[in-house]
Subunit: 220 residues, 2 copies
DNA sequence: TAGATTGTTAATCGATTAACAATC
DNA sequence: TAGATTGTTAATCGATTAACAATC
């Protein structure tokens, strides 16, 4: 089997539309390690090194990456800066996503004042709270707004992602309001189950459930 | 194909040792929905109903459950209370896991004062902080302790799980101390990458990364 | 009984990885 | 050049699901 046809080059560029959750999860981990590696002054990194930190099989790392382009140099490895940029691009994070935070309580404050969303290309455009006593106070550099300013913010900033850090009983009514305002992804930190139309995605995150997962890794 | 042999009954009970991460994740979601269903007074639930809330294929739900026993009644569905108990047992949560929380800052307080760990069978036995000004204050019903009380707590309570809600720069030194004290699972809420021996599991959780995942669901 | 729903088989599908040629 | 490491193929493995008999 030599290479009689170059027809294969015809393939029109890798299509980035269909990204499985597994791939997305692993790319995020690579990005996390790469960011650290850059801080440590590393300029180049091999799939074997990435594997040591992420515990992902090196072949799989190469396969994950090669699906989107040829980012590495054989015999050398991957350029750290270049790979960070590529993964960011793949993750569509390059074009900064605007998000709004709901709830200026303890968890809301913790989220607002951390760098993590910013580090991954998310831009917090507004913080809302239903409590009039919290409105007007400052959280993570944002002035807390009342909920009735929501429609304006949605329109102006094309907001599709909302992060909910509110009490369980407040979650469903708020979700209804968000859906009505055109929000398509709700990232739910409350314990309440949310009922939304099929075109809206709810991602419920719970430290306890995450911990359960971690426990399985350990127990199995 | 009638049923000439009952030899099949020989199979010696389903072995619960090897629980894939996917199954564990789904079981947690079923548990979450079941808990809500119970609050709403529901006594029985079908795989189809569970599917509506979790968006998991009903066949898969039945398959996930049937791997551990026959919990349902044909034509009727699953008993809510019974299934909650079974899943808890499967998740090994029945035998309350002891966990310790490190860091009494904003995130630490949010975690300590929520019910979510308790709801899933986790028992916070102690809260630690390196800051002498925080030691002695009360967080979520626990008196914050100094780090040098850690060895005692580990021995007394057989602690294997630690939840880290500390600044990135404090994470690695603390992790070293924890490893030395016999902790086997570190649930890392800080952004720092942790280097630990192979027998210790680190689970790094980041709202931003979780959000990225949610975004994929939406984009794909 | 008739309708509903489980438990399970068998087929499909996708994800993982070993192996190796390409090449820096 | 020799050694290292990527990119990719082909085989393996496990997870998902359609279909249906069992049975409440």
């Amino acid at each position: 089997m030599s290479a009689p046809e170059a027809a294969q080059a015809e393939e029109a560029g890798p299509d980035e539309a269909r990204l499985s959750l597994g791939v997305a999860a692993r790319l995020s981990r690579y990005l996390q390690v790469l960011t650290q590696a850059r801080k440590m002054g590393k300029e180049t990194i091999s799939s074997r090194e990435l594997s040591e930190y992420t515990h992902v099989n090196p072949t799989q790392i190469r396969r994950d990456l090669s699906g989107f382009g040829r980012f590495g140099k054989r015999g050398v490895g991957y350029n750290v800066d270049g790979l960070i940029a590529e993964i960011r691009r793949i993750l569509q994070t390059a074009g900064q996503h605007n998000i709004a935070l709901f709830g200026a309580g303890r968890l809301g404050k913790a989220i607002a004042s951390s760098d993590i969303f910013a580090d991954h290309g998310f831009n917090v455009v507004a913080v809302f709270d239903a409590d009039p006593r919290k409105v007007g106070t400052s959280v993570g550099g944002h002035t807390v707004r009342p909920l009735d300013e929501l429609p304006g913010v949605c329109e102006e900033d094309g907001l599709v992602v909302a992060v909910l850090a509110v009490p369980a009983e407040a979650a469903q009514p708020l979700a209804d309001t968000l859906v009505a305002s055109g929000v398509k992804i709700i990232f739910n930190y409350s314990e309440g189950l949310l009922q939304v139309p099929p075109d809206v995605t709810v991602h419920t995150s719970s430290p306890a459930i995450d911990l359960l997962h971690a426990l399985y890794f350990y127990l199995s």
